[in-house]
């Protein structure tokens, strides 16, 4: 796209000249560099920017903290990045109602700090530091605590979005219980900027746990990892998270327990009793606890990360299939972590041999989709994504995904090319 004076000038009018700049290579997504980056400061400004983008036929990519720009295939076209950095106001936090309303550019860390003053938290703990609320919703990011609290879809209660043509619409409300109208908050969860820009969001909050401890058990095999997980899942201990760290030298299943001070010991005792049949049980140190397990070694530079979704009770066969496929492809023991209680497993492996990586991903997809699971390339070099998409093909609902996209973004200007089915 030409950055003609006309478009830049018009954008300046909308967002102010301090809030528009030419893009640099740092703004590129998978090698595609946009022309401009704009930072609107209000819902109205986002709407103005999008009206102009529609008029000029610009392809727009929304961006929050930029922590997840590696997720998705290469953009088909990219002219404008709409950054929500300036949309960073917490509009309301009513502790007595256990809710807040905030603009999409608010960083999760900042929000948690503010909310924690009232002994509350947003029960989302994705690992990326610097992520914004809007980005977390769009990428459907989650972390270990999803075992107890669920994911974005279970916590979001309202949303304001701006569509490709500047239309502003809201859904939901600021009360936790509400069934009026369609639940667009959920529809936009995980939509990766392809339906519109998330401008504000409302969430329900939870009380900050007053006490917590993490117990861990050393396991020896995939089957044991599964059985240890199942022992906690089917108990009445009400664990907060069940995490797996499965490396060649250390295989650990950790269980985060949260309670009130008076309830803590009993929970630890119950969990330890259940876990000790599988191996040595210990309570994690505070440093380890921050990671809900051992400090995982830093990823190697060319590491590829796959995210597997599978029925949680099949953890053993998932791990076996991963290890088997890696071995057959001549890959070193992958770095495996996961939210064992909910069936999410992350596989980190070297991308040095790209053919082997392609083969490995293909085999994982074949196994997982046969069992109605899924495989997503969480992090991968562009060359690999060009050979195997970030996404599965989505099964028989892909047609419906396509129709939703066509209705919300008929001109195909929202983050085109990055989503499943080439959307």
């Amino acid at each position: 796209m030409q950055t003609e004076r006309g478009i830049t000038g018009d954008l300046r009018q909308i967002v102010g000249s301090d809030n528009i700049r030419e893009a640099t290579t740092e703004d590129a997504i998978e090698g595609v560099q946009p022309a401009l980056v704009v930072e609107p400061g209000s819902v109205e400004e986002i709407s103005g920017v999008m009206k102009l983008a529609a008029r000029e036929g610009l392809a727009v990519s929304p961006r929050g903290g930029g922590t997840k720009t590696h997720l998705g295939d290469a953009p088909r076209q990219l002219d404008l990045i709409v950054s929500t950095t300036r949309m960073n106001e917490i509009m309301e936090h009513t502790p007595g109602d256990q809710i807040f309303r905030a603009e999409a550019g608010v960083r999760l860390e900042d929000l948690q700090e503010r909310i924690s003053e009232s002994d509350q938290m947003l029960a989302l703990d994705p690992p990326e530091s610097g992520a914004t609320l809007g980005g977390i919703i769009a990428a459907n990011s989650s972390g270990p605590r999803r075992y107890k609290y669920g994911t974005v879809r279970d916590l979001i209660i309202g949303i304001t979005v701006v569509l490709h043509d500047g239309t502003v619409a809201k859904a939901g409300s600021k009360v936790v219980k509400n069934v009026a109208g369609y639940d667009l908050s959920k529809l936009f969860t995980g939509s990766l900027g392809t339906l519109g820009i998330i401008a504000t969001a409302n969430f329900r909050l939870h009380p900050l746990p007053k006490a917590s401890r993490t117990v861990a058990v050393e396991v020896e095999s995939p089957q044991q990892a599964q059985e240890a997980t199942q022992s906690i899942v089917h108990s009445q201990v009400e664990a907060t998270a069940i995490e797996l760290h499965y490396a060649e030298d250390e295989k650990l299943l950790t269980v985060l327990l949260e309670s009130i001070p008076g309830g803590m010991d009993a929970k630890v005792e119950t969990a330890s009793f259940l876990l000790k049949q599988f191996g040595e049980v210990r309570t994690l140190s505070e440093e380890e606890e921050d990671h809900l397990g051992p400090l995982t070694p830093p990823a190697v530079a060319d590491e590829i990360v796959l995210k597997l979704g599978a029925p949680p009770a099949e953890l053993g066969s998932v791990l076996e299939s991963v290890l088997g496929a890696a071995e057959r492809r001549g890959l070193a023991h992958p770095r495996i972590t996961g939210h064992a209680g909910t069936g999410v497993t992350f596989i980190g492996f070297s991308g040095e041999d790209e053919d082997a990586a392609v083969g490995f991903v293909g085999e994982m997809r074949e196994i997982q989709t046969r069992k109605s699971g899924n495989v997503t390339l969480q992090r991968a070099p562009l060359t690999l994504k060009q050979r195997v998409s970030t996404w599965d093909n989505g099964g028989d609902y892909l047609g419906l995904v396509r129709r939703v996209k066509e209705k919300f973004d008929p001109r195909g200007g929202m983050n085109p090319g990055r989503y499943l089915g080439g959307l």
């Binding site: 109602d97 509350q120 859904a171 936790v176 099949e314």
Partner: protein
Amino acid sequence: MERSRLITAMEGILGTEGVIHEHEQLRTYECDGLMNYRVIPDLVVLPETGEHVQRIVKLCYDEGIPFVARGSGTGLSGGALPVKSGVLIVLTRMRKILEVDIPNQRIVVEPGVINIWVSQEVADEGYYYAPDPASQIVSSIGGNLAENSGGVHCLKYGFTTNHVMGAEVVLPDGSVTHIGGGLAPDAPGYDLLGAFVGSEGTLGIATKITLRLVRVPESVQTLLAAFEDPEGAGGVVSGIIGEGIIPAAIEMMDRLTIEAVEAAVHPGLPDAGAVLVIELDGPEAEVEEQFGRVLEICEENEATEIRVAEDDAERALFWKARKAAFGAMGRISNDYYVQDGVIPRTELPAVLKRISELSEDYGLRVANVFHAGDGNLHPLVLYNNSTEGEAEKAEKLAGDIVFTCLEHGGSLTGEHGIGEDKKKYMPKMFTDDDMNVMQLLRCAFDPHQLANPGKIFPTPRLCGERPGPFHMHPLQKAGIVEQF
């Protein structure tokens, strides 16, 4: 298509047993749990399998005939109200529990399965299905899904939408799709299941539903506390939340409700201005300590009487009293009108005060029973239908109550749905743009607006997709919709 030919075609799919077309029999289906609205459907069909549903819907699609899905018919917003010249698809013959998967904490059921059956099915395994609308002994899972039903335990456990993990859906064009992962988490793509649950039958018909099962808690403690007035009870609610305690349930009933319930089911409720039923569940040590704290909070707020359930039988009695509240109104009033507004919990005192002012202004009694923990009010406006003009007055009062909820930052409905009943209020909560964008979703699922048309939105839109020369849509002819 002529009606007689349609009947023959449906009988071809379902046999004569599965098609109801006699006027007198059709009348059984003229309304759901909300009896203010009645429409006699053209035809009622009773499919027994997902394939039946698919063939029925395909036939409707090919012939441009609108259809409405119905479960047990307990809905309170007219969501399953038939449409004129339409087919009513009644799913009560699809009652099979298809699969129980305890290791993955899932169960797969047909839409006609009754809510309580799910818990009964897995009780021996130490599991249950958490969403428990008061209608749970009769309402169906398909209906619960359509309405995103709540219940008394959603404060801690969430709503139907948090417990439906996957669905096989017959789309309004008769095609079948599977949405939500079912067993596996994080299926890629838009959260179509999240959008589908609570869509009140306007996006398609679920024919197989995968539900999440929850482990029965180690310990349950329930108490019933009486107060001189609702303010005292409200203080307890704020106190509990302020301590960071999330009870499984906190329910409130006011004096009028207590009287009605007492007359109907004689649970021996105390004579009081307000009663709370509070339940805590979870690991024993946790429940023990927090329950002790809750008892203190009740005393601090000058409870006039506190009863702790000694056993399951007494607990059941407390819940029987609460769940009987709607039905019990018949004991103190000929007719009543239920509202389902939601308010931020902190607005409770102000809203209750306003409701009592409105009640006085209108000269009609309002009984209050509500899910106090999540701010979901069920004011019951009592009236006598045989008194000239009182029904209209009651409806107007009910409307004013729900507007009060909106003014205080709440919602039109917490669990009953918009349906036919509240669609006229939608513009009070949403702008035209909000509703038009919601209807984009409708257009993606159901471009010809055949699935439960005319519900939720005050001004349904056609999606402008019909190819070929213009001809008037049957709904347009009937004056139900206007061209977008």
